[in-house]
Symmetry: C2
C-alpha cells in the first residue's frame, strides 16, 4: 500500500521531493527510470546506475517471451546484472502497438512477482488518442477489474502500479482515478501519453495528468509513462509526477538525435556538441559523426542519459529552492508547445495554490517576468486575501504606482510621504498598484512575499487589462467612492482605462502624475500638497460641497 | 588593422560567427577568454586550453609589476606556459579600482608588444558609472588620444584593442565610437560595464553596447570587458559582441559560488550539483563541501569554466541554426533583469532587422511564444513590406483568423473556401489575422516565414491591443472602406475593439463567427454563403443601396 511506501519531503507548486521505499531500497524522487532492453542493452545497466539513476526499468513481457521460466531462477536483477530497485512494465505498450499480447493479465503480474520486480505494473489497456468515448469507458472498466484482481495476489512486497486510463476523455480519467484511489495499490501511473508527446500536444497532456493528479490521493506516488524527454521534465514534476520512464534516450540515439533541455538536435546538423557532459567534453561533433555507428549510438545514448539526469537535478534543486516556476517560464520561452502547456497549467492555479507552501527558509524573493507570472500561487492567494481579509475604513482609496524600493512603507516615495504628511493616510486607505499583485493594501505591505519580489515591466505591458480589471474589482468590492492614483511611469493608456471604467461605475477618480520621481523623493512636500488637494476635492464632491465636473 | 584580422561567417540577429586572425593562429568567435593571474593561476592555462578555450587573457600590468624586464625574455607565452593566442589587458581595471597605475600609457602598450601579446589593449580610462558628463568627456578624449599615440608604435603584428568609453552617457559613447571607427586599430572593445553587471543593470548595458556597436564598423570585431557570467552570454552575442573576458570564473569560485546559465548558486545552499560537467559528474555536492578549500576552489573554477564553455557552444549553435532569439526569450523568462534587457534590446529591432539574414538553409520555422516575439526581425521586415509592397485592389478586406494549418492558401479553412467559392476572393482582398504578424495578405502567404511559424496563443493574449492597432493601421493605410472578419476562437474583446476602432474611422465592419471549425472544414458551403452575404451587405452600404445601421 502506497502509504507505507512513499513520503513527501518538500513541495513547490505541485512538485514534490519524496522518498519511495521499495524492497530493494529507497529511491529519491522525482526520478527518471531509464528503460533497458533485457536482451540487448545499449548502455550497460551498471553504468546507468553509476551515473546516478537509482531506479531502472525493464519490460517483464519481453523477459517472459525471451527467457520464460528461466527468468524465475536468475530473476530480473540477475538478467540486468544489478542489485538496486527495478521497475518492470507489463507489456501494455506492446498491447497498444501490436493490438494483442501472448499473456493473461493476472499471469504477467504473477510473473513480475516471481522474477523479483520491486515495482510491477498491471497489464492495463492504454487508451489511444483516437479511442471513442464508449470503447474507452469499457477499457477503463477492464483496467479497473484487472487492478482489483491483481490485488488479490500475494505480491510479496512488490509495489503494484495502477495505471489511470481514459486518455483525452477527462471525465473518464477522473472516474478511473477516483475508483483507483479506493484501492490499496503501491503506486499510481498515468497511462499512454506517448502519442501526445510525440505530437508535442503538451496542452492535452496537462489536462490528462492534472485530472488524474487531482482525483488521486495527494500523498500517493504517481508515475508518468513515456515522458522521456528533458523538455517536459520540469512541467511533469510541476504537475505532481514523481517518476517517469524513458526509452527515448535510446530511441533518439538510434535516430542519431541529441536531447537538450530545449529540444532535440540531429547530430548530422550540429557542428558543436551541445553540452559539457563527459561525452560532449571528451568528443567533438566531428569525431562522433565519423566513428562506427554502434559506438556512436552508445555515446549519444549516454549523452541523452546525462542530459536527462542534469535536468532532473536542476528540477529537484528548483523544488528545493522554490524556483520551479521560474524554470517553467524559462522553458516556455523556448517553444510554443511548452508555452501552451504553461497556459493550460495555470488554469489549475487555485488547486496549485492550495498545495504550494506558504513560505520557505531561506526566504527567497519571487521573480515576475510576464503576464503568466501573475498566476503564481502567491498571487492567487493574495487575491483570496484581498477578498476576505481586507476591510475598507475610508471612502477614498489612495493608490500608488509600485516603486522600485520595497517594503513600500519603509522605503521610497510612500515612506517619504508618510513622514511628510501622515494625515493623508488617515483620510484615505492607501494601497500600491503592483504589476504582479494588482493591489497591495499598505497594511499587508509586510506580508511575504508582497515586498520580496522583483517584477519586470513586461508584466505590466502584457497584462494591462487584467491589472485594470483587478483594480476596478477591488474598488467596487470594497465599496470605495473615490480613487486618487499617484503615478510616475504608468502609461496614460492604463490611467485612462482606469478612470473610464471607474467613472462607468460612478466612482470618482483623480490621477496625480509625478514628473520626476527622484526629485519628489528628495522633496516630497509639493506632491503631498497635491495629493491632499485631490483627496479634499473628492471628499467635497462626495459630500456634495462641490459640483461634479460635467461628464465630457 | 581589423579588416585583415576578422571575417564574419554567419549572422543571427546581431550575433556573428567569425574568425579572428592573430599572429599565433585563428580564434573562432564568439569566444570567451578566461583571465589568468600570471603569478598564481587557479586552473592551469594548459588545462583551460585543453577544455577548448582558444584564446587566453592575462594582465600585462601585473606582469610588468611582478616580472618587469625579465618578462621580455620569456614572453607572456613563456610565463603562462602556452603557445596559443594570448590577449593582454593593460591595467585599466587597476586604474579604475586604485585610481592610479605605475606606468605610462604608451609604455604599457610597448611592453605588451615586447612580451609578445597577440592582442593588446591601450591603457584607457574606464568611465565609472557615477562619472559626471563633463569629466567623462575629458576621459573619452584622453582615451582617444592614447589610442592615436599607440597606433604610432610598431606593433609587430599585435592586434591593438581600442576601448570605447563614455559609460552611461550614450552620446559620448556614440561620439567615441565614431571617432575610433576612423582609426586603423585591430579590434574594438566596450569598456567598464563591470559595475552594471554587478548591479544586474542589463538594461543600461544594452544601451551602452548597442550604442557602441551601431557606431562602430559592423565588420569589425568587438570585445566586451568584464562580461564573465553565462547568464548574459546569449544577450552579449545577440548585441554583436565577438569576444568577452571572464575573471569571474575564479572570483565566484573563491566565493564558493557555482555559475549556471540561469544564475548563481552558493555551494553551501545546494544539495545537488547543477550540471553534468566532468566536475559535477565526478563529485557530489557533499564531497565538494568537505574537501580542502584550495581543492574545492579549483574544482568550482573548473565547473564555472565548463558552464561558460557550454553556454558559449549553445549560443554558437543557436546562431548557426537561427535560434538565438528563442534562447534570448528562454533566458528572459528566468530573471526579471534579463527580461528588462530583452525589452531594451527590442527597441533596436529595426537596426537588427537590417543585419539579420533574410533566410537560411535548412529553412527553419520560427517560434513565437510571447508579446516580445513580435519584435523578431522577420516581423519588423514584414511590417515594412506591408507599408510599401502591398496594394489594395478592392474596397473590402476579408480577414481570416489564423488557422493552425499553413500555408493558409494551401490548407485549412481558407483553402476550402477558395475551392468552394472563388468569387469571394475576387470581390475582396483577403488576408489572415496572424498573432505574430498581425496581417498577412494572402498574396504574401508563400513568402518565408509567413507560413513557416508556430505561435502560442499567449502571443495573442499578451499583445491584443498591439494586434488590433496594427490591423487598424493596415486598413486605414490601404484605404479599405469595409472589413469582414471571419473568426472562430478570437475573444469577443478583440472583435469589439476592432469594430469600435474601425467605426470611429468610418470603416464598415462585420464579424462572421464560426461556431465549429472542424465542421466548417468538412462542409464550407454555409460559411461561404454567410461571408458572401456579409461582403454583399458592405458593398451595398458603400454604394448607398442600403441604409447604414443607426449607430448604437
Amino acid at each position: 500500500m502506497w502509504r507505507d511506501a512513499f513520503e513527501i519531503k518538500e513541495v513547490d507548486l505541485f512538485g514534490r521531493l519524496g522518498r519511495l521505499y521499495t524492497r530493494r531500497g529507497v529511491v529519491e524522487t522525482p526520478t527518471l527510470t531509464p528503460v533497458i532492453n533485457p536482451s540487448k542493452p545499449v548502455v550497460e545497466p551498471q553504468q546507468i546506475q553509476r551515473m546516478g539513476y537509482q531506479l531502472l526499468m525493464t519490460n517483464s513481457y519481453i523477459i517472459y517471451r525471451s527467457y520464460g521460466e528461466l527468468a524465475k531462477e536468475v530473476g530480473v536483477h540477475g538478467i540486468l546484472g544489478v542489485d538496486g530497485p527495478v521497475f518492470t512494465d507489463s507489456g501494455a505498450y506492446q498491447l497498444m502497438v501490436y493490438g494483442r499480447v501472448e499473456v493473461k493479465p493476472l499471469e504477467i503480474v504473477e510473473y513480475q512477482v516471481e522474477i523479483g520486480s520491486d515495482i510491477g505494473v498491471v497489464l492495463d489497456i492504454p487508451t489511444r488518442r483516437d479511442t471513442p468515448y464508449e470503447q474507452a469507458r469499457l477499457e477503463v472498466e477492464e483496467t479497473l477489474k484487472r487492478v482489483r484482481e491483481a490485488l488479490s495476489l500475494d505480491l510479496k512486497g512488490m509495489l503494484l502500479v495502477a495505471p489511470v486510463q481514459g486518455g483525452t476523455h477527462t471525465p473518464l480519467v477522473a472516474y478511473a482515478a477516483r475508483e483507483l484511489a479506493e484501492l490499496p495499490v503501491g503506486m499510481y501511473a498515468v497511462g499512454g501519453p506517448t502519442q501526445l508527446m510525440q505530437e508535442y500536444d503538451f496542452r492535452e497532456l496537462v489536462r490528462l495528468v492534472m485530472t488524474a493528479r487531482l482525483n488521486l490521493p495527494w500523498a500517493a506516488p504517481l508515475h508518468l509513462f513515456g515522458a522521456g524527454h528533458p523538455i517536459m521534465l520540469p512541467l511533469a514534476v510541476a504537475m505532481g509526477v514523481d517518476t517517469f520512464d524513458s526509452a527515448s534516450y535510446v530511441l533518439y540515439a538510434r535516430d542519431e538525435r541529441l536531447m537538450t533541455p530545449y529540444g532535440t538536435l540531429r547530430l548530422s546538423e550540429v557542428e558543436e556538441l551541445p553540452c559539457s557532459c563527459p561525452v560532449c567534453s571528451k568528443h567533438s561533433a566531428k569525431e562522433l559523426k565519423e566513428m562506427p555507428r554502434q559506438e556512436r549510438i552508445r555515446l549519444i545514448a549516454e549523452h541523452n542519459l546525462y542530459v536527462l539526469l542534469e535536468e532532473l537535478r536542476r528540477v529537484r534543486e528548483a523544488v528545493r529552492e522554490g524556483r520551479l516556476w521560474e524554470l517553467l517560464e524559462s522553458r516556455a520561452g523556448a517553444h510554443p508547445s511548452m508555452m501552451e502547456a504553461l497556459r493550460e497549467y495555470v488554469r489549475y492555479s487555485r488547486f496549485i495554490a492550495a498545495k504550494h507552501p506558504v513560505t520557505r527558509s531561506p526566504v527567497r524573493g519571487l521573480f515576475f517576468t510576464s503576464r503568466l507570472s501573475r498566476y503564481r500561487p502567491e498571487v492567487v492567494r493574495h487575491h483570496e486575501r484581498l477578498k476576505y481579509r481586507v476591510e475598507r475604513t475610508q471612502d477614498l482609496l489612495l493608490l500608488f504606482e509600485e516603486t522600485p524600493q520595497k517594503p513600500f512603507t519603509r522605503a521610497g516615495l510612500v515612506k517619504e510621504l508618510m513622514l511628510q504628511d501622515p494625515e493623508i493616510f488617515q483620510v484615505s486607505d492607501a494601497a500600491v498598484l503592483s504589476y504582479p499583485f494588482s493591489v497591495i493594501p499598505l497594511e499587508l505591505d509586510g506580508v511575504y512575499p508582497l515586498s520580496q519580489y522583483e517584477a519586470s515591466r513586461n508584466v505590466l505591458d502584457s497584462a494591462m487589462d487584467e491589472i485594470a480589471a483587478d483594480v476596478l474589482w477591488y474598488v467596487l468590492n470594497k465599496g470605495y467612492r473615490g480613487v486618487v492614483l499617484v503615478y510616475y511611469t504608468l502609461p496614460e493608456r492604463l490611467v485612462r482605462k482606469l478612470s473610464e471604467s471607474l467613472a462607468a461605475e460612478e466612482v470618482l477618480f483623480l490621477g496625480v502624475r509625478v514628473e520626476n520621481y527622484q526629485e519628489v523623493l528628495s522633496n516630497p512636500r509639493p506632491l503631498a500638497a497635491r495629493i491632499r488637494a485631490a483627496l479634499q476635492t473628492l471628499q467635497d464632491l462626495i459630500r456634495g460641497r462641490l459640483e461634479a465636473p460635467a461628464p465630457s
